[in-house]
């Protein structure tokens, strides 16, 4: 066993053991451990593998910069990949090593839970070391709303020992942290979170924080007046031959394990330190009776002796390591002599760099500081962000170096001098990239993938950029590490999704009649957020059979469809008529009260934007309908024009979609159905013309009847209040049974309207289609002085005769169903590229026509009726004849029943 728990010290609770499993074996740790510290206490440093080369690896850090020790957690929660250094040990924790790439289980054990929380604070402090705690404590004392977060389970940072004095003669770190956190946690205006990593800082003090709480993880959305970055500094490793062997660690990690967890990660240690701070690890190990040799390459050979219990090899350096699954010896050299030092632990300190990834991602720059041999904040971040403590370059005196930074130990072979452990990239790989002509660190990163693994180059970033500077002969710090981007630490997708999954992902809207549809076996389809009946299969019918039956019922008897989802907007006020004249391409001011008109709204570019009808209820009141999916869009469009261009018009717009329920009764026997259901409205042709509406009762309930047809048949829409919708629907279906009244869905509606050549905006149009392209010049008013889209329609390009026009298509084989979206060509066997002349927008089997048919947009199509075109389906050109886009009852004889 190499590594053990000290009898006293640290922040661990020795009350009882915590049992955990790792790689199939059971171990014991203590409350307060991380998985990594518990493993080290059991003498386990390795068991990990590098992702690409498969080299044995071990724990190399004590924090989020870990590059080797990744685990999959299976109990008591699931995590595909997490650094063992950041996993808090809990009873029953079960984990196994993963080589840098996590994988999701075939069957999810249980959907992981997560919530989002939104808070507003005055000051958010990121980093719970001494600087951060101090800032949070004083802000709370000044009455501010404060939030203090740290990504580790324990506060107090990493830079000082628990028993060190915070200031000369002041309290110990342990006492200071306890007192400050006690005050903060007692304050109702302070939020203190551990295991909570700030993922990114965004505009106007918006910060995302991932709290790894279990069993429910949290994503905090914080809006703060001030951000205090107290993220400390990360240690920079040194590259030398076989510097990746298990047992090689950052020196600060060794200090942290001894001090905070009372764990010595080895029995015989060497520290390679090119920075004064490396001595702290040597002292800590010596204090735990571990024999230590401190190799200090930057000091002259005859410099002062080291602290008690530490052998100092000044002027020597590490040139290699030996061992199998674990470090067994360290090879050192003074330039002439070689020595082999037995050791199972090698601490490395190449220097330090402030942890400024979050700072840079919100616009902060880096400045090379020669005194510190480090990149300090260089300005450019927003004024509400402040960097304090080591991250800001203060309290830096123990971390200076006696000479220029040591990046890598020179040698003939640099191919095992690892720079990025997780990408298995070495000094030789960086040199190859530079030799290939790459000069920018960003390019070297993309050529080598350094910094792109799970650890995001926390230890390799500054090392790589310094090696590049060195290889190019530039000054140290000429280029800094490549640009970091959020998130700072990996965040599971389920946390990003939070509770907004399944039914909470997007609202599901159903009509008041929905329960009836479900009870009658409807198959539903999604239209925007709405669930609409698609078809009503009977006796095992498939879609085609059900739709054929429903279509025939409407054409020969009658059918009923739930049309409640159509968007409805009340347009009210003395300016309503003028306003709608400006918004529709046709005139709405000439509509008489009690009458209905179909209209197009165009975009400013002249393209069809939406369609629907307008009912004029009074001189100053209209009720307009929109497509089901377009309701919100149309209301926004109307509001924009009303508010920004014509604020002088006195008009109010109100969405009333859900105030109404609408049942469309269509077919030659529609009048009989209404009379049987009971209505006080005279539905005869003489009393009730097409495109008129009447208010009265149906089945004893206040209702509006509107003669609108989207099928070409005699049809009445029955509008009632939403609450009466189901009752009236049931009355109609019961009364209609005697007349063959058949419920039909959206698929039948699509077939029926296509047989009549009625377009669906968004299916037959795509935002590049004008009313003229659809052959609907009649819907564009020539007499109105102006309307939205009018000037664009006069652009030369929209007058071109070879624009695509709406046409009908009859496949020469009446059983051939053209796929919607298929391209049309004239010469299917022509030499490529074969010009495409159009595409199919709608295609169905028609029960009435006893054949297939389609609608298409086709270049110059209005002049090409009768021609043959081909739809290439795979290798097979399918011939079809171009026709007028109307297939059923072209003279409109069915409309009045």
């Amino acid at each position: 066993v190499s590594g053990r728990r000290l009898p006293q010290g640290g922040l661990v609770d020795r009350a009882g053991p915590v049992t955990f499993g790792f790689d199939g074996r059971e171990y014991e740790g203590l409350e307060g451990d991380t998985l990594a510290s518990a493993l080290l206490a059991n003498g386990v440093v390795g068991g990990f593998r590098s992702p690409i080369l498969g080299r044995p690896r071990g724990v190399m850090s004590a924090g989020p910069e870990e590059s080797n020790a990744f685990v999959e957690i299976t109990e008591p929660w699931f995590d595909a990949i997490a650094p063992a250094t950041m996993v808090r040990l809990v009873e029953g924790l079960t984990a196994r090593p993963v080589a840098g790439v996590g994988r999701l289980p075939d069957a999810a054990p249980e959907p992981p839970r997560s919530v989002h929380r939104h808070v507003h604070v005055d000051t958010l402090v990121i980093g719970g070391g001494l600087s951060g705690i101090g800032r949070a404590w004083s802000a709370a004392g000044a009455g501010e709303r404060v939030m203090l977060v740290d990504e580790r389970a324990a506060f107090g940072g990493t830079s000082m020992g628990l028993d060190d004095e915070v200031n000369m003669g002041g309290p110990s770190v342990r006492e200071y942290v306890d007192r400050a956190l006690g005050d903060l946690r007692a304050s109702p205006d302070a939020i203190v979170l551990s295991e909570a990593a700030a993922l990114g800082i965004y505009d106007a003090g918006y910060v995302l924080i991932h709290e790894r709480s279990q069993p429910v993880e949290r994503l905090w959305h914080v809006r703060t007046q001030r951000v205090v970055l107290a993220t400390g500094a990360l240690e920079r490793p040194i590259a030398f031959a076989d510097n990746d062997r298990p047992g090689v660690m950052l020196s600060g990690a060794i200090h942290h394990y001894v001090d905070r967890f009372a764990v010595v990660p080895g029995e015989r240690a060497v520290i390679l330190s090119a920075n004064n701070r490396g001595w702290a690890a040597a002292v800590a190990l010596a204090g735990a009776d571990v024999p230590v040799t401190l190799v200090d390459p930057l000091r002259p050979a005859d410099s002062t002796p080291g602290p008690d219990g530490v052998d100092v090899l000044a002027g020597w350096t590490v040139v290699g390591t030996m061992g199998e699954a674990r470090l067994e010896a360290v090879v050192v050299s003074d330039g002439t002599n070689l020595r082999t030092l037995p050791a199972d632990l090698l601490g490395v300190c190449g220097g330090w760099n402030p942890s400024l990834q979050l700072y840079r991602a919100i616009g902060g720059t880096l400045r090379w500081d020669e005194t510190h041999s480090a990149f300090l904040p260089g300005g450019g971040a927003p004024a509400w962000l402040e960097v304090v403590g080591r991250a800001g370059g203060s309290s830096w005196s123990p971390m200076t170096a006696p000479g220029p930074p040591l990046l890598f130990v020179p040698g003939d072979d640099l191919s095992r001098h690892f720079v990025d452990l997780q990408r298995d990239q070495t000094v030789a790989d960086v040199a190859a990239a530079v030799d290939a002509g790459l000069r920018s660190v960003e390019h070297v990163k993309r050529a080598t993938y350094i910094g792109t693994a799970v650890d995001q180059g926390r230890t390799s970033g500054a090392l790589t950029s310094e090696i590049v500077n060195h290889l190019l002969g530039s000054d140290p710090g000429a280029q800094g590490p490549s640009n970091p981007r959020p998130p700072w630490t990996p965040v599971p997708f389920h946390v990003v999704a939070g509770p907004y999954r399944g039914p909470l992902f997007d609202p599901v809207r159903v009509t008041p009649i929905h329960a009836w549809h479900a009870a009658h076996g409807a198959r539903f389809e999604n239209v925007g957020q709405w669930r609409r009946p698609w078809f009503y299969p009977r006796d095992g019918e498939d879609l085609d059979a059900a739709v054929a039956r429903e279509c025939l019922a409407v054409r020969t008897a009658c059918g009923i469809q739930d049309a409640s989802t159509l968007g409805k907007i009340a347009v009210v006020g003395p300016g309503a008529a003028v306003f709608l004249d400006r918004m529709y391409s046709n005139a709405m001011s000439t509509l008489k009260p009690g009458r209905i008109r179909y209209g197009f709204m165009l975009g400013m570019d002249g393209m069809v934007f939406d369609d629907g009808v307008a009912m004029r209820e009074a001189e100053d009141r209209y009720l307009i309908t929109t497509t089901t999916g377009g309701a919100a869009r149309v209301l926004d469009h109307l509001e924009e024009w009303l508010q920004t261009e014509w604020p002088d018009l006195r008009v109010y717009l109100t969405s009333v979609t859900e105030q109404w329920a609408t049942a469309a009764v269509a077919g030659p026997r529609a009048r009989e159905v209404l009379r049987a259901a009971g209505t006080d409205v005279d539905v005869s042709q003489d009393a009730f013309p097409f495109m008129a509406f009447r208010d009265g009762t149906v089945a004893g309930v206040p209702a509006r009847l509107a003669r609108i047809s989207f099928s070409g048949e005699l049809a009445f829409e029955v509008w009632t209040s939403g609450t009466d919708g189901l009752r009236v629907w049931e009355a109609l279906t019961e009364a209609g049974a005697a007349f063959g009244l058949t419920p039909y869905g959206t698929e039948t509606m699509h077939v029926l309207r296509a047989e009549k050549g009625y377009v669906i905006v968004g299916q037959d149009t795509d935002g590049t289609v004008t009313p003229y392209d659809l052959g609907m010049a009649w819907i564009v008013s020539e007499s109105k002085s102006d309307f939205v889209g009018r000037r664009s329609l006069r652009r030369a390009d929209l007058q071109r005769p070879d624009r695509k026009h709406l046409v009908g298509l009859l496949p020469n084989d009446p059983d051939e169903l053209l796929p919607e979206g298929v391209q049309l060509v004239v010469e299917p066997r022509g030499a490529p590229p074969v010009p495409m002349v159009g595409y199919v927008t709608s295609s169905y089997r028609s029960a009435a026509l006893e054949r297939t048919f389609a609608l298409a947009m086709m270049k110059g199509g209005s002049e090409r009726h009768g021609e043959t075109v081909f739809a290439p389906i795979g290798d097979r050109p399918v011939a079809a004849t171009v026709t007028v886009p109307i297939f059923y009852d072209p003279e409109g004889a069915k409309r009045d029943g």
């Binding site: 965004y202 809006r223 926004d636 509001e639 006069r794």
Partner: protein
């Protein structure tokens, strides 16, 4: 995520708003008098300055009002926000 000062509701998250592009592009008094090129210029061409930019926002998931605001396109800082048509904004630009 921007913090947008709605002149009616106060500062609110960006997710509550819809962007409306450059402010102060008046609808031409006589569109027919414009050439196709002039019309296209009105319809499609917008400024893209580095720095102060007057733009339109709609508080879609709030009061549903449109307003003009001046935003610094470099810092994303809002310098002013005013109901549509207020002179103050035009002068602050």
């Amino acid at each position: 995520v921007l913090l947008i000062p709605c002149p009616w509701c106060g500062p609110r998250d960006e997710v509550e708003f819809r962007y409306g592009g450059q402010a102060g592009i008046a609808y031409p008094t006589d569109p027919d008098a414009l050439s196709d090129a002039e019309w296209a210029d009105y319809l499609f061409m917008r400024d893209n300055p580095k720095g102060a930019f007057a733009e339109r926002w709609n508080h879609t998931h709030g009061c549903r009002r449109w307003f003009d605001a001046v935003r610094d396109t470099v810092t994303h800082e809002f310098r002013a926000a005013d109901p549509i048509g207020r002179q103050a904004l035009r002068e602050d630009r």
